[in-house]
Symmetry: C2
Subunit: 234 residues, 2 copies
Amino acid sequence: MSQPTLSSTASPPPTKIGVLLFPGFQLLDVAGPLDVLNILSRQHASLSLSIIAASLNPISTHQDTYSAFSNIPSNPRFSQSIVPTHTFETAPEDLEVLILPGGFGSRSEENVEGLVEFLRGYGKKLKWLLTVCTGSAILAKSGLLDGRRATSNKRAFGWVKQQNTSVTWIAKARWVVDGPIWTSSGIAAGIDMIYAWIGSIWGEETADVIADSSEYERNRDSEADRFAERWGAV
Amino acid sequence: MSQPTLSSTASPPPTKIGVLLFPGFQLLDVAGPLDVLNILSRQHASLSLSIIAASLNPISTHQDTYSAFSNIPSNPRFSQSIVPTHTFETAPEDLEVLILPGGFGSRSEENVEGLVEFLRGYGKKLKWLLTVCTGSAILAKSGLLDGRRATSNKRAFGWVKQQNTSVTWIAKARWVVDGPIWTSSGIAAGIDMIYAWIGSIWGEETADVIADSSEYERNRDSEADRFAERWGAV
């Protein structure tokens, strides 16, 4: 397939944001960025969120082991479920921003198949595409990262790199920006990425006021990443 | 009412954890601590989570304004809903730990009434009670914080203090421990509190491995808190 060409523009700021969910998503991959955007949306009433999944059934952080490849399964007695607002078929056609989380469910072929099909159909329409953690492994399988620089979860980095060798995987990075595609390192790194992304669009002062309201200490340097070495990704 | 007496013990580690939800909860207040516990629960299969609310209907981060007191309303087009597993009436009777988030919904009398009634009935059974953000304002109304030291969201600190003057409110603190009750400062501070709490029970090494897996940089000093001054709480 030809490489999709997303087009990022500096203005106007986006208003239509979507997030993809799948069974076995990592809760903080989703909730970290979304809660920052929750606070932003109080000042920007035009912001809207679509939560998109294969069906409208609540999506659990627990993945059924039958469809999973993992030696550290999630605990079925300890999980949370978030309610989608749209399916892949009913997703608004005019989303400008899409957030793709990771989690152990990213290793499920069943999950990835539907997500990749959606991403291939949707990719060209987006202005920004943001992944957290192993969400970049899913995106890599769609071809949308071919020839681009990207990062991912550092503990899973070896596995991620195997998913697509046409991607320039950057081990030591809190997050990586390549044109309209932002990819973050594992789990909590998504919070720092979303603050940097908000700063790039609404300004650093806006990002800082939200971070202070959230009582969050930002990691501002996208290249500072002790976890790459910690987990042997470099 | 007489002051409830929770009893905290060093061993054995707890297995039965609950979280309370109400409309207008702050997503990261809930998801920050729970996702850390999600990772802990992979190694500790006996851990279980009950998500408790007034009904089994999905609970939204958006609160209806009719029941809210706030000059910065949440955005109805930008919200997330989590599915409860139990109601106040059906909650397991043997929970050992309860987590109480905050959010603008903590200012709704309708929300607070049900939560306070549940907390008064349940408080004495618990070994630990943890609040995040303005969750401590709700807990204060239950009487369970009377005579204890506690902290809360720094931007809302003036309002929080008004809710119960029998509490010794500590402005400059990332989190405060008073016996079995742990209270954190605003939103993201709940993440640091849960790591410290896990460290106190399962050991600091366990807490650090989870933080490194989550690629989270812990704020380890409970007394370091620049947000108290930032928001005029001191």
